[in-house]
Symmetry: C2
Subunit: 329 residues, 2 copies
């Protein structure tokens, strides 16, 4: 029998067909499979399409697939039930289990059945895992209520700092030029109406045309400005590290020493955030507690699919999943 | 000849027909006349309807109206030009001048041609006024970029504090119960999935169904909790006062000693914000500098209409405008 690993993201859906020994036999990809951002029908069509491609490449049929695991943000609730129904009516009739993307990411980083995962991508969230179930959650409340230290959080603070600098005529941070450029605004030092600079007027108009979460794309500019020594940017980066440390602290339990899996583009690529979060974790759990960065949840969905089917995943299977799935991007 | 004073708000449009001596001869009201929030056609229909009612009540005709002033948020730009064109095609062919609502509010509070106005309602903004024109602007950048100390700002911090309290299982602030009640959520202490309380899940869903600015309706709950001694609420109120003080400070000019006009529901009704802002203003400009609260911009639009027509507005006219316009609500 074969198993499906399905990784659903906001921009893409990726599917691996794996054998019982962890070997990836086929791979498929499609657009976003997230029903919240893309709508139920589009999401289901992406997942079904990517799955059919993976099954075809594996040289097998759906009849030979025993079960599958879908790693997806916001896995629970009515939307999940509706998605499973839509997938079944679209021809994906094998038993599928929806799992939180953070649990899949955790399983991509470790064979342990308990520990922690923290993500900072567009949003931010930390979870505690016990017996391969999420036991406690910190933050993950979305851009308006939380997501402290996320890409949105960084981008939002960056654009606010730029707006304040342009508003006050204060000494400008190094964020001003790159943020204006990223938003397609020419830095215009002229004064417009009511003693407000033309550039600020343009900034306001540009920002309110975006969906708020799109401000996450300004996050890399904050790290570049911080590396160049901009005081404002350094303060924003430190604030992000502090926020993520607090979120992680809220789920720590002395009985569970780790490991900690670091996920998402900010924690994967930015040592100025990942290092302080790691240091704080070590200061509580001891410097031996393992910390593992993970950049791809798909191998974790494969591990979960095998484990949920009652199969044993040992180091050899784990390594085989990583070697054969991770090469397929 | 008669003059039109038109006060355009987010929820209502109010029009007064005034005589050259400031007497209000007729009054009319309609729904929102703001083209940004209500659309151009609806906004123009509201303004034209309220104006026709006011002119009819005054027992006169449009032919006897010399000119008018429209006090409106975001008075400048293309939207303003389009609104004037739409009003003209709707039959309002008298010369109309669009003026910032904060300038109209200033003129409702004082006969001085220079000074400051600061508003905290749904949004927050401060302006410096010189020769009856806005000379400098602080904040007014909207809920995503600024509006520090506004109703949105207070409500946003309140709901974030409630979310954090429910997320951490920390000692709950007195804000929890009233905020949940205002959002129609039963406080459910049960745990839902992933170690997250059911009440928090409901809060997240309720908040993301709102337009963000609707969080401003939570602001009064912050003042009630602060009055009852809640530490979190007191800190939010202090933060609002600090933000508004900074915004005001950014437009102060030693050459212009005042007066300062306080506008908007927060500054008009909440001494815990208005008093520190006033004290900070006095500490810079001297304790003699007048501070005037204003709750209605319509008399100011009437004063501006007369002044822009070249008429003299003395204390007697000013008082007559207030006595006869302010009674018509």
């Amino acid at each position: 029998m074969k198993y499906l690993a399905i990784d659903v993201g906001g921009t893409s859906t990726r599917v691996a067909v794996v054998d019982v020994d962890g070997t990836c036999l086929g791979y498929g990809a499609a657009g976003s499979g997230n029903p919240t951002s893309s709508g139920l029908e589009n999401a289901a069509a992406s997942i079904v399409g990517a799955t059919r491609a993976a099954v075809a490449e594996a040289g097998t049929t759906m009849d030979d697939v025993a079960a599958g695991t879908v790693g997806i943000a916001g896995a629970g609730g009515e939307t999940g039930v509706a998605l499973l129904a839509e997938l079944a009516s679209g021809g994906l009739s094998v038993p599928l289990t929806l799992e939180a993307d953070l649990l899949a990411a955790f399983c991509a980083g470790t064979l342990s059945t308990q520990g922690y995962a923290i993500v900072s991508g567009t949003g931010a969230c930390a979870v505690r895992i016990r017996e391969l179930r999420i036991d406690d959650t910190g933050d993950g409340l979305g851009w308006l209520l939380g997501d402290g230290g996320s890409g949105f959080w960084l981008g939002h603070r960056a654009v606010r700092a730029v707006a304040t600098a342009l508003d006050d005529g204060a000494p400008l941070t190094r964020l001003v030029d790159p943020v204006l450029a990223e938003l397609g605004i020419t830095p215009d030092p002229a004064m417009g109406t009511h003693g407000r600079s033309v550039a600020l007027d343009h900034l306001v108009h540009a920002v309110y045309r975006l969906r708020p979460v799109e401000l996450a794309r300004l996050a890399p500019l904050v790290f570049e400005a911080a590396d160049a020594g901009d005081v404002e940017a350094v303060a924003i980066v430190r604030g992000a590290a502090n926020a993520l440390t607090s979120t992680l602290a809220s789920v720590l339990d002395p009985d569970i020493a780790g490991p900690l899996v670091l996920c998402g583009s900010i924690l994967a690529r930015q040592p100025s955030v990942a290092d302080p979060v790691t240091a704080a974790f070590h200061s509580v759990m001891g410097s031996d507690a393992p910390v593992v960065p993970v950049t791809d949840g798909l191998p974790g969905a494969a591990v979960l699919a095998l484990r949920r089917a009652g199969l044993t995943v040992d180091d050899a299977v784990f390594d085989r999943v990583h070697d054969t799935v991770a090469s397929r991007r």
